[in-house]
Structure formats: C-alpha cells, structure tokens
Amino acid sequence: MRSRLLLILGQLINGLTQGSIYALIAIGFVIIFGTMNLVTFAHGEVYMIGAFMGYFALSVWHLPWYVALAMGMGVAWILGFFIEKIAFRPLRAAGHMPPLLITIGLSIILKDLAVVFFGAENRPVPSIYGETIKIAGFQLSLLQLLIIGIAGVLIIVLRILIQGTKIGRAMRATAQDHEAAYAMGVNINRVFSISFCLASCLGGAAGVMVGIYYNAVYPVMGDTAGLKGFAACIFGGLTSIPGAILGGMIIGIVENLTVQFIASGYRDIVAFIVLVIVLVIRPQGILGKTIRAV
C-alpha cells in the first residue's frame, strides 16, 4: 500500500515536471492569442529550435546549463521576431485562418530544415543534476526540482513584466482593445512583435529543459509538444495564464498516471482527448471568460 502510494507520488512529481514544461508552451499561446487574437501553429517548431540550441550549447560547446538556457531563449526570441513579421503582420486583420495557414507552412519548412541540417535521428543531451534527494523515504531528483523551479521563476518574471512595466501595460491595453490602445498612442505593431518574441522565448526555454530532462532532441519533437501546449491553454480559454498553467499541470499529471495505470502508448492521447472534450463542452475554457470573437 505504502509503496503504491509512493509510486503514485512519484508519478505526480513526474507529471508536475512535464506539466511545468507544457505550461510554459501554453503560456506562449495565451500571450499570442491574448494580445493578437490569433493562433500560431509554428510554436512547436520554435520550441524544437530552442531545444537544438540547448543541445549545441550543452553537448557540443560544453557550456553550463544556464548559458544553454539563455541561448535557447535568445534563438527562440529571434525566430519569433521573424515569424511574427512573415506570418502575422501582413494578414493580421484578415481573421484567424490566413495567419494560421502561414504558420502551418512555416512549421513544415522549419521541420524540414531541421531534418536536413541536424539529421532526423535523436541527438543526445548530457544529463545534469542526476542526484536524488530523499525526503521521508521518497526519491526526488534534483533535475526535476530545477525544471519546476526554472518554470516558476520564468512565470514570476513574466508576471512582473506584464503587471509592472511600461511595455506590460501596453500589452494589456492592446489585449483589451487594439484600436483604443492605438488611439492612446501605443505602438501596437511593437507590442505585437514583443509579445510574440516573449511567447517564443518561453517556448525556447521549454525546449532546452525538455532536452535536458529526456536527454534527447530531434526535429519532430515540436509536433506533439506544440499541440499539447495548445491543449493546455484551451483550459484557460486561450486567454488566461493561470488557466494555461493549470491545464499544463493537469495534462502532465494525467499523462503520467496513464503510463502507470493504462499503457505508455496511450500517453500522448491524453492531451488530445482533453483538447476535444474541453472544446466540445466548454469552448471558452474552464477558467476562461467568454471570448469576444472566435
């Protein structure tokens, strides 16, 4: 009985670790949808490129993990800047579909380029902080604590940025009403660009951490991760950051319980079933408010 409890507790910790990674991806979708009212499909590829940057920094150049993390986030920031320019700026007012379709095109291109330049096979990433600490007979790996910790710090920094700075105020104003913000002298083009970069940056961080956590990166890793992050942000009805965090955690935990009690092959299905169920039952999200126009 006790061992079974420990097992479940262990899966909960695994779930929280993965959940915090999904949450970072999901927050990216929320920032983009919140400010621009648009959905990107290339977010998974941003995450993949960030992960590869982390791989190069850690395995090839042997840099410490925090440098790798910063480099992954930096590359993702730059990539996000260009994606916004190509996919969102030209057709922003034309509804959801054209930008979504262009980001689908970009995601196909980025995946293909990654296969060409990095190869289709798994690239190994060295593990760090393999030690475990024991609390009341329960094994806890330092790496998991580190990942949950980094995700927490990033989320707090993001909150300070959105609530406490000038650009954050501009973002919130733009999210409420593009036109009114524009009329009040907010440079909304700049706000859109920075929002997208910020979202991409979190995606890149998630990619680096996944690489360290699973010790592997590969070109198609963004596919399911992007969609899972999206499923998580559906919880918040696409507009709520706490909803996205909660969604990520729930998906992470349910996935690990599925591995434990059903079958590991069905792990990836969880997120999509959640996605479909939430959209069908409550499209405005569990924590979300009603959305103006979708």
Partner: protein, 335 residues
Amino acid sequence: MTMALYDFIPRRGNMKIWLPVLGALVVFPFFVRNEYILNTAVFAGIYVILASSLNITNGYTGLFSFGHAAFYGIGAYTAAILATRFGFPFLLTLPLAGIVAGICGAAIALPTLRLRGIFLALVTIGFQQITFLVIMNWIGLTRGPMGIPGIPPVSIFGFALKSNFEYYYLILFLDVVVIFLIARIVDSRVGRTFVAIREDELAAQSISINTFRTKVLSFVLATFFAGLAGAFFAHHARFVSADSFRLEETFLILTMLIVGGMGSILGPVIGAVFLVILPEVFRFLAEYRGVVYGLIMIAAILFRPEGIAGVPGIIPTRGILSRPEKLATMEEPVP
C-alpha cells in the same frame, strides 16, 4: 464568352473543353508505358479525390477541417482489415470504407460543428492525432507500427489488376465519378446552401437553412470520399501503416487545395496534380520537399489566396494592414 476558371464545371455546354482533356488522359498510358510515371499518375489520382473532397468542407462550406488524412486512413484501414481478415473484394471494401469514414466523420461532426472557425480546426487536428495514436496502439485491430501487409490487389469480376497501367484506368474512372458527383452536389440546392453558409451563416439561417444539419452533411460527404480514396490506396499499395496518415499528410492535402484554389471543381484537381508532379520534376530538391511545399503554401496565401483556379475571397485578405487603423475588421459573428 469568357469564363473564369473557378466557374468551370463539366457540363453538356462546355463539352468542347473537358472531353478532349479526358480523351488525352485516356490515351496517355499508351504513350508512356513507364511503370514509375504511371505510379506517379495513380498517386495524383488519389490526391485528386482527397483534395476535391476536402474542398467540400473547406472550400464550399467554409468549415476549416484539418483532419482529412485521418479519414483517409480510416478508409484505408477499413478496407485493409476487411480484405485481409474476411476476404472482402474491392467492390465491397470500397463503399464500406467510405461508409465507415463517413460514420466517423458524423461522429466528430455532430458534437463539434457547433463550434466556429478556429475551434473546429483545432478539434479536427486533435482528432487527427487521436486517430494516428489509436492506429499505432490498437495492436489487436491494426497491428500497430507493423502495419497490415498482404492486402489483395483489386479484382473486379474475376479480372485482377496487376500493373499500374490498369490501376491508372481504375483511378481515372473513380476520379471522374467522384468529380462528377461533387460537381452535381455543389450545383444542386444542397451545394448552394453550403455556399450560403460560407458566405454568411447568419443570413443563411435567416432564410431558414438548417445550418447545423447542412454543415454535418458537408462534413460527412467529405469524409466519405476520403474513405473511398483510402480503400483504393490500400488495395493499390497492398500495405497500410499509420505513417501514411500523419498530420503532414493532412497538411499536404490542404496545401494542394489552397494552391489549386478552393471553392471550385477545377482548383483541387489542378493543385493535387501540380503538387504530386512537382517533386518528381525537381528531384534534386528531394531533401527540401517540405521547404518547397511550405514556401508554395505561404506564397499562395500572401500573393494569390484564391490559388490557381479558386473562388476569390474564401481565404480572407481584406484589411491587409499597411495602416493599423484598419484593425476594426477583426470581429466575427458568434453563432
């Protein structure tokens, strides 16, 4: 008399145009007895059905479905399982594959078609992934990652098809039938209600069109035809595995439809043939296939959103922003 490409529907009135094209397609294999080229032509034929059927929802009705490869896969697996386990002949597996895919289409359409635009797209992407994962994991039914080998070749009334020469004529026949059926449907009262919903759902409702039922019908029709294509694929390739029905496949079909043009009969046909032939012509670009497809799709949306032969305006481009004051066009009606 000039006629826009998107108006073109094979009719008695324009026999002068489409009969010679059909004639050329009929005699084509006699001049090209190359098995490889004929194989490419057969694949082009399969994608003509897939893109044309996706056109029913995405083009005519304006519903964005991103799960077409899932229904294609369901059709292929239905045919493969029925043929290998129960020895069903092609003439039975073909309609059954369509029907099973159509039933799955109804099952996904009934709960989700109350959603609009972007949410429908996301549910269909989710369904696409679920289908792929179920195929990979339901070993008892689908043999999972091993796929189903040994599917018998098409045999019609004791005449077994052996070479791509014969398959070419079968797929040409199926293409003609499917295109004819779709043309008849979209030309009918039902087809007009599809277009009415695409143009303005509220207005369609106000002239007493049952929009929900019409949308479900459109979805079921599209998935039915995708199932047919799947059955043909299974019997032609004689092997099915989940890898043929990934999200990439959906995106490929979608790219064909967008590049060819939505909302017309000709558009998806041109798009499918174009995108199947393109990588064969540019073999040196084999590695960069995805890049080429992606670039073509982006270029089409940015510079010619109606595609080669589509109806302008289905992919909205109004309010291309040079000045931010045009932002007011973002609102869409909520049903």
